[in-house]
Protein backbone atom coordinates (compact mmCIF):
# COMPACT_ATOMS: atom_id res chain seq x y z
CA UNK A 1 0.00 0.00 0.00
CA UNK A 2 2.88 2.34 0.72
CA UNK A 3 3.96 2.60 -2.92
CA UNK A 4 0.38 3.25 -3.93
CA UNK A 5 0.23 6.15 -1.50
CA UNK A 6 3.54 7.47 -2.78
CA UNK A 7 2.60 7.28 -6.41
CA UNK A 8 -0.81 8.81 -5.79
CA UNK A 9 0.74 11.53 -3.67
CA UNK A 10 3.18 12.27 -6.46
CA UNK A 11 0.26 12.63 -8.84
CA UNK A 12 -1.31 15.10 -6.46
CA UNK A 13 1.90 17.05 -6.16
CA UNK A 14 2.58 17.37 -9.86
CA UNK A 15 -1.03 18.23 -10.64
CA UNK A 16 -1.09 21.72 -11.95
CA UNK A 17 -4.54 21.10 -13.26
CA UNK A 18 -7.72 20.44 -11.27
CA UNK A 19 -8.33 16.84 -10.31
CA UNK A 20 -10.50 15.08 -12.85
CA UNK A 21 -14.18 14.05 -12.29
CA UNK A 22 -15.68 13.08 -9.97
CA UNK A 23 -13.70 15.68 -8.05
CA UNK A 24 -13.98 18.54 -10.55
CA UNK A 25 -15.27 20.84 -7.90
CA UNK A 26 -12.31 20.23 -5.59
CA UNK A 27 -8.97 21.63 -6.60
CA UNK A 28 -5.64 22.85 -5.40
CA UNK A 29 -4.58 26.02 -7.09
CA UNK A 30 -1.59 25.75 -9.33
CA UNK A 31 1.50 26.17 -7.25
CA UNK A 32 2.64 28.81 -9.65
CA UNK A 33 -0.59 30.75 -9.14
CA UNK A 34 0.73 32.21 -5.98
CA UNK A 35 -1.79 33.85 -3.74
CA UNK A 36 -0.80 36.22 -0.99
CA UNK A 37 2.67 36.10 -2.44
CA UNK A 38 4.90 38.60 -0.77
CA UNK A 39 8.55 39.34 -1.22
CA UNK A 40 10.00 41.18 1.70
CA UNK A 41 12.76 43.46 0.62
CA UNK A 42 12.51 47.12 1.47
CA UNK A 43 14.85 50.12 1.35
CA UNK A 44 16.77 50.81 4.52
CA UNK A 45 15.14 54.14 5.43
CA UNK A 46 11.72 52.55 5.42
CA UNK A 47 13.07 49.64 7.44
CA UNK A 48 14.43 51.92 10.16
CA UNK A 49 11.15 53.74 10.67
CA UNK A 50 9.35 50.41 10.61
CA UNK A 51 11.78 49.08 13.20
CA UNK A 52 10.88 51.97 15.51
CA UNK A 53 7.20 51.12 15.15
CA UNK A 54 8.04 47.44 15.60
CA UNK A 55 9.52 48.17 19.02
CA UNK A 56 6.10 49.36 20.10
CA UNK A 57 4.53 46.25 18.58
CA UNK A 58 7.10 44.09 20.40
CA UNK A 59 6.23 45.72 23.71
CA UNK A 60 2.57 45.00 23.14
CA UNK A 61 3.28 41.47 22.06
CA UNK A 62 5.52 40.75 25.01
CA UNK A 63 2.83 42.15 27.28
CA UNK A 64 0.21 39.83 25.86
CA UNK A 65 2.57 36.88 25.65
CA UNK A 66 3.33 37.12 29.35
CA UNK A 67 0.19 35.11 29.88
CA UNK A 68 -0.27 33.13 26.69
CA UNK A 69 -3.56 31.47 26.00
CA UNK A 70 -3.00 27.78 26.56
CA UNK A 71 -6.58 26.49 26.66
CA UNK A 72 -8.10 24.88 23.60
CA UNK A 73 -9.30 27.36 21.01
CA UNK A 74 -12.84 27.29 19.72
CA UNK A 75 -12.90 25.83 16.23
CA UNK A 76 -12.31 28.42 13.57
CA UNK A 77 -14.61 26.65 11.13
CA UNK A 78 -17.44 28.62 12.68
CA UNK A 79 -15.87 31.87 11.48
CA UNK A 80 -17.11 33.57 8.34
CA UNK A 81 -14.87 33.17 5.30
CA UNK A 82 -14.07 36.90 5.25
CA UNK A 83 -12.97 37.05 8.87
CA UNK A 84 -10.99 33.83 8.42
CA UNK A 85 -9.02 35.37 5.59
CA UNK A 86 -8.47 38.40 7.83
CA UNK A 87 -6.97 36.11 10.48
CA UNK A 88 -4.78 34.53 7.83
CA UNK A 89 -3.59 37.87 6.53
CA UNK A 90 -2.70 38.88 10.10
CA UNK A 91 -0.53 35.78 10.53
CA UNK A 92 1.08 36.54 7.19
CA UNK A 93 1.76 40.06 8.28
CA UNK A 94 3.22 38.83 11.53
CA UNK A 95 5.85 36.71 9.78
CA UNK A 96 6.67 39.63 7.54
CA UNK A 97 7.25 41.98 10.49
CA UNK A 98 9.50 39.46 12.15
CA UNK A 99 11.65 38.99 9.07
CA UNK A 100 12.01 42.70 8.56
CA UNK A 101 13.00 43.14 12.19
CA UNK A 102 15.63 40.42 11.84
CA UNK A 103 16.90 42.00 8.66
CA UNK A 104 17.13 45.45 10.14
CA UNK A 105 18.64 44.56 13.49
CA UNK A 106 20.77 41.54 12.78
CA UNK A 107 21.45 41.14 9.07
CA UNK A 108 22.22 44.76 8.30
CA UNK A 109 23.35 46.21 11.54
CA UNK A 110 24.78 43.91 14.19
CA UNK A 111 26.31 41.15 12.15
CA UNK A 112 26.73 42.41 8.60
CA UNK A 113 30.30 41.22 8.24
CA UNK A 114 29.40 37.87 9.72
CA UNK A 115 26.58 37.45 7.20
CA UNK A 116 28.85 38.39 4.30
CA UNK A 117 31.11 35.45 5.23
CA UNK A 118 28.13 33.13 5.57
CA UNK A 119 26.96 33.85 2.04
CA UNK A 120 29.93 31.88 0.77
CA UNK A 121 29.70 28.83 2.97
CA UNK A 122 28.88 27.51 6.38
CA UNK A 123 31.47 25.95 8.68
CA UNK A 124 29.70 25.25 11.94
CA UNK A 125 31.66 23.67 14.77
CA UNK A 126 28.57 22.07 16.26
CA UNK A 127 25.97 19.68 15.13
CA UNK A 128 22.99 19.84 17.47
CA UNK A 129 20.15 17.36 17.76
CA UNK A 130 17.29 18.86 19.69
CA UNK A 131 13.59 18.35 20.22
CA UNK A 132 11.07 20.12 17.98
CA UNK A 133 9.38 21.48 21.12
CA UNK A 134 8.68 25.20 20.71
CA UNK A 135 10.26 26.01 24.06
CA UNK A 136 13.72 24.55 23.53
CA UNK A 137 15.29 26.09 20.44
CA UNK A 138 19.05 25.80 20.99
CA UNK A 139 19.63 29.13 19.25
CA UNK A 140 17.66 30.77 22.04
CA UNK A 141 18.81 28.84 25.08
CA UNK A 142 22.45 28.41 24.13
CA UNK A 143 22.85 31.53 22.01
CA UNK A 144 23.97 29.96 18.73
CA UNK A 145 24.48 32.66 16.13
CA UNK A 146 23.82 32.03 12.43
CA UNK A 147 26.58 29.79 11.12
CA UNK A 148 27.48 28.15 14.40
CA UNK A 149 25.33 25.06 14.64
CA UNK A 150 23.96 22.63 12.07
CA UNK A 151 20.73 21.58 13.67
CA UNK A 152 18.36 18.63 13.50
CA UNK A 153 15.12 18.94 15.34
CA UNK A 154 12.78 16.00 15.67
CA UNK A 155 10.29 14.64 18.18
CA UNK A 156 12.10 13.76 21.42
CA UNK A 157 15.61 14.42 19.99
CA UNK A 158 16.06 10.75 19.09
CA UNK A 159 18.94 9.30 17.08
CA UNK A 160 18.06 5.92 15.62
CA UNK A 161 20.90 3.38 15.26
CA UNK A 162 22.50 2.65 11.90
CA UNK A 163 20.67 -0.65 11.49
CA UNK A 164 17.27 1.07 11.48
CA UNK A 165 17.98 2.21 7.96
CA UNK A 166 17.55 5.59 6.24
CA UNK A 167 15.81 8.43 8.02
CA UNK A 168 15.96 12.20 8.04
CA UNK A 169 18.13 12.12 11.14
CA UNK A 170 20.92 10.00 9.75
CA UNK A 171 20.97 11.83 6.41
CA UNK A 172 21.65 15.01 8.36
CA UNK A 173 24.26 13.23 10.51
CA UNK A 174 26.07 12.08 7.40
CA UNK A 175 26.06 15.56 5.89
CA UNK A 176 27.29 17.20 9.07
CA UNK A 177 30.05 14.73 9.83
CA UNK A 178 31.35 13.89 6.35
CA UNK A 179 30.72 17.11 4.40
CA UNK A 180 30.75 19.90 6.98
CA UNK A 181 33.19 18.03 9.25
CA UNK A 182 31.76 19.38 12.49
CA UNK A 183 33.91 18.97 15.59
CA UNK A 184 31.14 18.41 18.12
CA UNK A 185 27.81 16.62 18.21
CA UNK A 186 25.48 17.73 20.99
CA UNK A 187 22.21 15.95 21.74
CA UNK A 188 19.91 18.12 23.85
CA UNK A 189 16.97 16.70 25.73
CA UNK A 190 14.58 18.62 27.94
CA UNK A 191 12.07 18.41 30.74
CA UNK A 192 8.38 17.68 30.14
CA UNK A 193 9.04 16.15 26.73
CA UNK A 194 5.78 15.05 25.10
CA UNK A 195 7.53 12.44 22.99
CA UNK A 196 9.16 10.77 26.00
CA UNK A 197 5.86 10.92 27.85
CA UNK A 198 4.21 9.11 24.95
CA UNK A 199 6.99 6.52 25.01
CA UNK A 200 6.62 5.93 28.74
CA UNK A 201 2.84 5.63 28.60
CA UNK A 202 2.71 3.50 25.45
CA UNK A 203 1.14 0.07 25.66
CA UNK A 204 1.20 -2.72 23.08
CA UNK A 205 -2.42 -2.27 22.19
CA UNK A 206 -1.94 -2.42 18.43
CA UNK A 207 -3.06 1.17 18.07
CA UNK A 208 -0.63 2.62 15.58
CA UNK A 209 0.24 6.21 14.96
CA UNK A 210 3.25 8.02 13.58
CA UNK A 211 4.25 9.19 17.03
CA UNK A 212 4.28 5.66 18.40
CA UNK A 213 6.20 4.33 15.39
CA UNK A 214 8.86 6.97 15.92
CA UNK A 215 9.29 6.97 19.69
CA UNK A 216 9.77 3.19 19.78
CA UNK A 217 13.34 4.14 18.81
CA UNK A 218 13.67 4.98 22.50
CA UNK A 219 12.34 1.67 23.81
CA UNK A 220 15.67 0.62 25.35
CA UNK A 221 15.71 3.84 27.37
CA UNK A 222 12.16 3.13 28.56
CA UNK A 223 12.99 -0.41 29.64
CA UNK A 224 16.10 0.69 31.51
CA UNK A 225 14.19 3.46 33.26
CA UNK A 226 11.39 1.14 34.30
CA UNK A 227 13.88 -1.43 35.54
CA UNK A 228 15.80 1.11 37.61
CA UNK A 229 13.01 3.38 38.82
CA UNK A 230 9.72 1.54 38.92
CA UNK A 231 9.10 2.79 42.45
CA UNK A 232 9.08 6.43 41.38
CA UNK A 233 6.10 8.44 40.18
CA UNK A 234 5.30 8.56 36.47
CA UNK A 235 6.55 12.14 36.18
CA UNK A 236 9.82 11.28 37.89
CA UNK A 237 10.25 8.28 35.61
CA UNK A 238 9.70 10.51 32.60
CA UNK A 239 12.42 12.88 33.83
CA UNK A 240 14.82 9.95 34.12
CA UNK A 241 13.82 8.55 30.75
CA UNK A 242 14.48 11.93 29.13
CA UNK A 243 18.10 11.69 30.27
CA UNK A 244 18.43 7.96 29.61
CA UNK A 245 17.16 8.49 26.09
CA UNK A 246 19.89 11.06 25.45
CA UNK A 247 22.48 8.52 26.56
CA UNK A 248 20.99 5.80 24.35
CA UNK A 249 21.08 8.21 21.43
CA UNK A 250 24.72 9.04 22.20
CA UNK A 251 25.52 5.33 21.97
CA UNK A 252 23.48 5.03 18.79
CA UNK A 253 25.75 7.68 17.27
CA UNK A 254 28.63 5.24 17.67
CA UNK A 255 26.84 2.68 15.49
CA UNK A 256 27.72 4.90 12.51
CA UNK A 257 31.22 3.89 11.42
CA UNK A 258 32.15 7.36 10.15
CA UNK A 259 31.21 8.82 13.54
CA UNK A 260 32.88 6.13 15.63
CA UNK A 261 36.04 6.43 13.57
CA UNK A 262 36.32 10.18 14.09
CA UNK A 263 35.51 9.96 17.79
CA UNK A 264 38.19 7.34 18.25
CA UNK A 265 40.74 9.56 16.53
CA UNK A 266 39.79 12.55 18.65
CA UNK A 267 38.48 14.54 15.65
CA UNK A 268 34.91 14.55 16.86
CA UNK A 269 33.48 14.95 20.34
CA UNK A 270 30.05 13.78 21.38
CA UNK A 271 28.11 15.48 24.17
CA UNK A 272 24.77 15.19 25.88
CA UNK A 273 22.81 18.11 27.26
CA UNK A 274 19.63 18.40 29.32
CA UNK A 275 17.63 21.63 29.56
CA UNK A 276 15.34 21.72 32.56
CA UNK A 277 12.97 24.63 32.01
CA UNK A 278 11.24 24.10 35.32
CA UNK A 279 14.35 25.26 37.16
CA UNK A 280 16.19 26.83 34.20
CA UNK A 281 19.29 24.71 34.47
CA UNK A 282 21.42 23.12 31.80
CA UNK A 283 23.33 19.93 32.44
CA UNK A 284 26.07 18.94 30.06
CA UNK A 285 28.29 15.87 29.78
CA UNK A 286 30.75 14.43 27.28
CA UNK A 287 30.98 10.85 26.06
CA UNK A 288 34.14 9.16 27.29
CA UNK A 289 34.84 7.07 24.23
CA UNK A 290 37.52 4.91 25.80
CA UNK A 291 35.10 3.69 28.42
CA UNK A 292 32.06 3.21 26.21
CA UNK A 293 31.09 0.72 23.57
CA UNK A 294 28.44 0.64 20.91
CA UNK A 295 27.77 -3.05 20.69
CA UNK A 296 25.24 -5.31 22.36
CA UNK A 297 25.03 -4.61 26.07
CA UNK A 298 26.38 -1.18 25.35
CA UNK A 299 27.54 0.88 28.23
CA UNK A 300 28.24 4.53 28.43
CA UNK A 301 30.90 6.35 30.35
CA UNK A 302 30.78 10.10 30.65
CA UNK A 303 33.14 12.80 31.75
CA UNK A 304 33.28 16.57 32.13
CA UNK A 305 29.85 16.72 33.66
CA UNK A 306 28.66 20.24 34.45
CA UNK A 307 25.49 21.85 35.67
CA UNK A 308 24.89 25.44 34.64
CA UNK A 309 22.42 27.35 36.69
Amino acid sequence: MAWLIRSKARLLVSATRPLRAPVDSFHCSRFSDLTDHSVFSFPRKWLRSKARRLNDVDDNQSGSSSSPHINRRTTVSQLEVSSNSRVRVDLFDELKQRFLSFKEHKYFREELEHFQTLKEAQSPKFMVIACADSRVCPSTILGFRPGEAFMIRNVANLVPPFENGPSETNAALEFAVKTLEVENILIIGHSCCGGIQTLMSMRDDGDSSFIKSWVTTGTVAKLRTEAAANHLSFDQQCRLCEKESINRSLLNLLTYSWIEDRVRKGLLFVHGGYYDFLNCTFEKWTLDFKGSSGEEGARLLVKDQELWC
Binding site: V13, S65, P68, N84, I152, E183, T286, W308
Partner: protein
Protein backbone atom coordinates in the same frame (compact mmCIF):
# COMPACT_ATOMS: atom_id res chain seq x y z
CA UNK B 1 63.76 20.25 31.60
CA UNK B 2 60.73 19.07 33.54
CA UNK B 3 62.82 18.12 36.56
CA UNK B 4 63.76 21.75 37.32
CA UNK B 5 61.36 24.14 39.03
CA UNK B 6 60.16 27.02 36.89
CA UNK B 7 62.25 29.54 38.87
CA UNK B 8 65.38 27.64 37.99
CA UNK B 9 64.29 27.53 34.37
CA UNK B 10 63.74 31.33 34.33
CA UNK B 11 67.21 31.88 35.83
CA UNK B 12 68.78 29.63 33.23
CA UNK B 13 66.91 31.45 30.48
CA UNK B 14 68.07 34.87 31.76
CA UNK B 15 71.68 33.66 31.83
CA UNK B 16 71.33 32.37 28.27
CA UNK B 17 69.85 35.67 27.09
CA UNK B 18 72.70 37.72 28.59
CA UNK B 19 75.29 35.42 26.99
CA UNK B 20 73.64 35.09 23.58
CA UNK B 21 71.69 38.27 22.81
CA UNK B 22 70.80 37.12 19.30
CA UNK B 23 68.46 34.48 20.76
CA UNK B 24 66.18 37.11 22.32
CA UNK B 25 63.74 37.42 19.41
CA UNK B 26 63.20 33.69 18.90
CA UNK B 27 62.92 33.14 22.65
CA UNK B 28 60.28 35.87 22.93
CA UNK B 29 58.29 34.32 20.08
CA UNK B 30 58.46 30.92 21.72
CA UNK B 31 57.27 32.32 25.05
CA UNK B 32 54.29 33.96 23.30
CA UNK B 33 53.40 30.71 21.58
CA UNK B 34 53.54 28.68 24.79
CA UNK B 35 51.49 31.30 26.65
CA UNK B 36 48.79 31.16 23.96
CA UNK B 37 48.69 27.37 24.09
CA UNK B 38 48.39 27.38 27.86
CA UNK B 39 45.51 29.83 27.70
CA UNK B 40 43.39 27.69 25.39
CA UNK B 41 44.41 24.28 26.72
CA UNK B 42 42.13 22.55 29.20
CA UNK B 43 42.96 19.71 31.57
CA UNK B 44 43.55 17.36 28.64
CA UNK B 45 44.00 19.98 25.91
CA UNK B 46 40.77 19.29 23.95
CA UNK B 47 39.76 22.01 21.46
CA UNK B 48 36.10 21.25 22.18
CA UNK B 49 36.40 22.84 25.64
CA UNK B 50 36.50 26.33 24.17
CA UNK B 51 33.39 25.51 22.14
CA UNK B 52 31.60 24.15 25.20
CA UNK B 53 32.61 27.18 27.22
CA UNK B 54 30.94 29.28 24.56
CA UNK B 55 27.70 27.34 25.12
CA UNK B 56 27.87 27.98 28.83
CA UNK B 57 28.13 31.70 28.22
CA UNK B 58 25.19 31.45 25.83
CA UNK B 59 23.06 29.67 28.40
CA UNK B 60 23.93 32.06 31.22
CA UNK B 61 23.06 34.98 28.94
CA UNK B 62 19.70 33.38 28.08
CA UNK B 63 18.94 32.74 31.73
CA UNK B 64 19.83 36.27 32.86
CA UNK B 65 18.41 38.26 29.94
CA UNK B 66 15.38 36.21 28.94
CA UNK B 67 14.29 33.63 31.50
CA UNK B 68 14.69 35.74 34.63
CA UNK B 69 13.28 38.86 33.00
CA UNK B 70 10.08 37.15 31.83
CA UNK B 71 9.05 34.95 34.77
CA UNK B 72 5.35 34.94 33.91
CA UNK B 73 5.94 33.78 30.33
CA UNK B 74 8.35 31.03 31.30
CA UNK B 75 6.13 29.86 34.15
CA UNK B 76 3.30 29.41 31.66
CA UNK B 77 5.57 27.66 29.17
CA UNK B 78 6.70 25.27 31.89
CA UNK B 79 3.10 24.08 32.16
CA UNK B 80 2.65 23.47 28.46
CA UNK B 81 3.11 24.74 24.93
CA UNK B 82 0.57 25.96 22.41
CA UNK B 83 2.54 27.19 19.42
CA UNK B 84 0.69 28.77 16.54
CA UNK B 85 3.19 27.65 13.94
CA UNK B 86 4.83 24.47 12.87
CA UNK B 87 7.92 25.29 10.85
CA UNK B 88 9.85 22.88 8.66
CA UNK B 89 13.25 24.41 8.01
CA UNK B 90 16.61 23.25 6.79
CA UNK B 91 19.29 22.09 9.21
CA UNK B 92 21.66 24.64 7.66
CA UNK B 93 23.35 26.63 10.42
CA UNK B 94 22.46 29.92 8.76
CA UNK B 95 18.70 29.62 8.65
CA UNK B 96 17.41 29.05 12.15
CA UNK B 97 13.79 30.33 12.33
CA UNK B 98 14.50 31.76 15.77
CA UNK B 99 16.78 34.25 14.08
CA UNK B 100 15.20 34.75 10.68
CA UNK B 101 11.62 34.98 11.88
CA UNK B 102 12.42 36.03 15.44
CA UNK B 103 10.54 33.06 16.88
CA UNK B 104 10.35 33.28 20.66
CA UNK B 105 10.07 30.30 23.02
CA UNK B 106 6.61 28.83 22.76
CA UNK B 107 5.77 30.19 19.32
CA UNK B 108 6.84 27.58 16.83
CA UNK B 109 7.17 23.82 16.82
CA UNK B 110 10.22 23.46 14.62
CA UNK B 111 11.39 20.48 12.62
CA UNK B 112 14.75 20.81 10.91
CA UNK B 113 16.23 18.37 8.43
CA UNK B 114 18.40 18.39 5.32
CA UNK B 115 16.75 20.52 2.62
CA UNK B 116 13.58 21.05 4.68
CA UNK B 117 11.82 18.08 3.13
CA UNK B 118 8.44 16.64 4.03
CA UNK B 119 8.11 13.17 2.54
CA UNK B 120 4.75 11.69 1.60
CA UNK B 121 2.81 9.68 4.14
CA UNK B 122 4.72 6.51 5.02
CA UNK B 123 4.63 5.14 8.53
CA UNK B 124 7.47 2.70 7.95
CA UNK B 125 10.09 4.82 6.26
CA UNK B 126 9.34 8.32 7.44
CA UNK B 127 7.93 7.96 10.91
CA UNK B 128 10.12 10.79 12.22
CA UNK B 129 8.65 13.59 10.16
CA UNK B 130 5.22 11.96 10.30
CA UNK B 131 5.39 11.95 14.10
CA UNK B 132 6.22 15.65 14.10
CA UNK B 133 3.38 16.60 11.76
CA UNK B 134 0.95 14.38 13.64
CA UNK B 135 1.95 15.82 17.00
CA UNK B 136 1.75 19.39 15.74
CA UNK B 137 -1.61 19.04 14.02
CA UNK B 138 -3.47 16.65 16.32
CA UNK B 139 -1.99 17.41 19.74
CA UNK B 140 -0.66 20.96 19.62
CA UNK B 141 -3.29 22.07 17.11
CA UNK B 142 -1.03 24.50 15.29
CA UNK B 143 -2.73 26.92 12.91
CA UNK B 144 -0.05 27.13 10.27
CA UNK B 145 2.54 24.83 8.81
CA UNK B 146 5.29 26.80 7.11
CA UNK B 147 7.91 25.02 5.01
CA UNK B 148 10.91 27.28 4.49
CA UNK B 149 13.58 26.75 1.85
CA UNK B 150 16.70 28.85 1.46
CA UNK B 151 19.47 29.92 -0.88
CA UNK B 152 22.68 27.92 -1.38
CA UNK B 153 21.12 24.78 0.06
CA UNK B 154 23.63 21.92 0.12
CA UNK B 155 20.89 19.30 0.11
CA UNK B 156 19.21 20.70 -2.98
CA UNK B 157 22.56 21.04 -4.70
CA UNK B 158 23.09 17.37 -3.92
CA UNK B 159 19.69 16.51 -5.37
CA UNK B 160 20.54 18.37 -8.58
CA UNK B 161 24.03 16.85 -8.77
CA UNK B 162 23.55 13.21 -7.76
CA UNK B 163 23.15 11.08 -10.91
CA UNK B 164 20.56 8.64 -9.48
CA UNK B 165 21.67 6.07 -12.02
CA UNK B 166 21.83 3.13 -9.63
CA UNK B 167 25.16 4.10 -8.10
CA UNK B 168 25.35 5.81 -4.72
CA UNK B 169 28.11 7.79 -3.10
CA UNK B 170 26.46 8.31 0.28
CA UNK B 171 24.84 6.08 2.88
CA UNK B 172 21.72 8.17 3.47
CA UNK B 173 21.88 11.61 1.87
CA UNK B 174 20.96 10.60 -1.67
CA UNK B 175 18.06 8.54 -0.42
CA UNK B 176 16.73 11.42 1.68
CA UNK B 177 16.94 14.26 -0.84
CA UNK B 178 15.36 12.04 -3.48
CA UNK B 179 12.06 13.10 -1.88
CA UNK B 180 12.46 16.31 -3.88
CA UNK B 181 12.81 14.47 -7.20
CA UNK B 182 9.55 15.88 -8.66
CA UNK B 183 11.07 19.35 -8.18
CA UNK B 184 14.29 18.35 -9.96
CA UNK B 185 12.32 16.91 -12.87
CA UNK B 186 10.26 20.06 -13.24
CA UNK B 187 13.26 22.37 -12.92
CA UNK B 188 15.28 20.45 -15.51
CA UNK B 189 12.36 20.58 -17.91
CA UNK B 190 11.70 24.30 -17.42
CA UNK B 191 15.32 25.45 -17.20
CA UNK B 192 17.18 23.29 -19.64
CA UNK B 193 20.63 24.67 -20.43
CA UNK B 194 20.72 27.07 -17.49
CA UNK B 195 23.78 26.98 -15.22
CA UNK B 196 23.60 24.73 -12.15
CA UNK B 197 23.36 27.73 -9.82
CA UNK B 198 20.17 28.98 -11.50
CA UNK B 199 18.68 25.49 -11.58
CA UNK B 200 19.46 25.05 -7.88
CA UNK B 201 17.69 28.29 -6.96
CA UNK B 202 14.59 27.20 -8.87
CA UNK B 203 14.77 23.78 -7.29
CA UNK B 204 15.10 25.25 -3.78
CA UNK B 205 11.72 26.93 -4.25
CA UNK B 206 10.05 24.13 -6.16
CA UNK B 207 11.08 21.59 -3.51
CA UNK B 208 9.15 23.64 -0.94
CA UNK B 209 6.07 23.16 -3.10
CA UNK B 210 6.76 19.43 -3.33
CA UNK B 211 6.85 19.29 0.47
CA UNK B 212 3.60 21.26 0.72
CA UNK B 213 2.00 18.81 -1.68
CA UNK B 214 3.33 15.88 0.33
CA UNK B 215 1.74 17.35 3.44
CA UNK B 216 -1.61 16.87 1.71
CA UNK B 217 -1.04 13.11 1.80
CA UNK B 218 -1.42 13.14 5.59
CA UNK B 219 -5.11 12.62 6.45
CA UNK B 220 -5.02 14.81 9.53
CA UNK B 221 -3.54 17.67 7.50
CA UNK B 222 -6.30 17.36 4.91
CA UNK B 223 -8.93 17.33 7.64
CA UNK B 224 -7.45 20.47 9.12
CA UNK B 225 -7.43 22.21 5.75
CA UNK B 226 -10.99 21.20 5.00
CA UNK B 227 -12.13 22.41 8.43
CA UNK B 228 -10.09 25.60 7.99
CA UNK B 229 -8.28 25.00 11.26
CA UNK B 230 -4.99 24.67 9.42
CA UNK B 231 -3.23 26.56 6.65
CA UNK B 232 -0.10 25.72 4.68
CA UNK B 233 2.54 28.21 3.64
CA UNK B 234 5.78 28.04 1.74
CA UNK B 235 8.71 30.35 2.32
CA UNK B 236 12.10 31.06 0.79
CA UNK B 237 14.91 32.81 2.67
CA UNK B 238 17.60 34.21 0.41
CA UNK B 239 20.51 35.15 2.65
CA UNK B 240 22.58 36.31 -0.29
CA UNK B 241 20.14 39.05 -1.19
CA UNK B 242 18.56 39.39 2.26
CA UNK B 243 14.98 38.66 1.14
CA UNK B 244 12.18 36.43 2.31
CA UNK B 245 9.37 35.20 0.08
CA UNK B 246 6.19 33.82 1.54
CA UNK B 247 3.27 32.20 -0.25
CA UNK B 248 0.22 30.21 0.73
CA UNK B 249 -1.36 27.06 -0.59
CA UNK B 250 -4.88 27.68 -1.72
CA UNK B 251 -7.13 24.86 -0.66
CA UNK B 252 -10.66 25.24 -1.93
CA UNK B 253 -13.89 23.36 -1.91
CA UNK B 254 -17.01 24.32 -3.67
CA UNK B 255 -20.62 23.23 -3.37
CA UNK B 256 -22.45 20.97 -3.84
CA UNK B 257 -19.99 18.42 -2.39
CA UNK B 258 -20.10 18.26 1.36
CA UNK B 259 -16.91 18.05 3.39
CA UNK B 260 -17.56 14.40 4.12
CA UNK B 261 -17.92 13.58 0.42
CA UNK B 262 -14.68 15.28 -0.49
CA UNK B 263 -12.80 13.61 2.32
CA UNK B 264 -14.07 10.25 1.11
CA UNK B 265 -13.09 11.01 -2.46
CA UNK B 266 -9.64 12.13 -1.37
CA UNK B 267 -9.29 8.98 0.66
CA UNK B 268 -10.19 6.97 -2.40
CA UNK B 269 -7.79 8.86 -4.63
CA UNK B 270 -4.80 8.39 -2.42
CA UNK B 271 -5.17 4.85 -1.27
Amino acid sequence: MGSKSYEEAIEALKKLMSEKGELKASAAAKVDQITAELKTASSDGKPSDASVERLKEGFIYFKREKYEKNPALYAELAKGQSPKYMIVACSDSRVCPSHVLDMQPGEAFVVRNVANMVPPYDQTRYSGIGAAVEYAVLHLKVQEIVVIGHSACGGIKGLMSFPYDGTTSTDFIEDWVKIGMPAKTKVLADNRGEPLGVQCTCCEKEAVNVSLGNLLSYPFVRTGLVNKTLALKGGYYDFIKGTFELWSLQFALSAPLSVKDVATILHWKLY
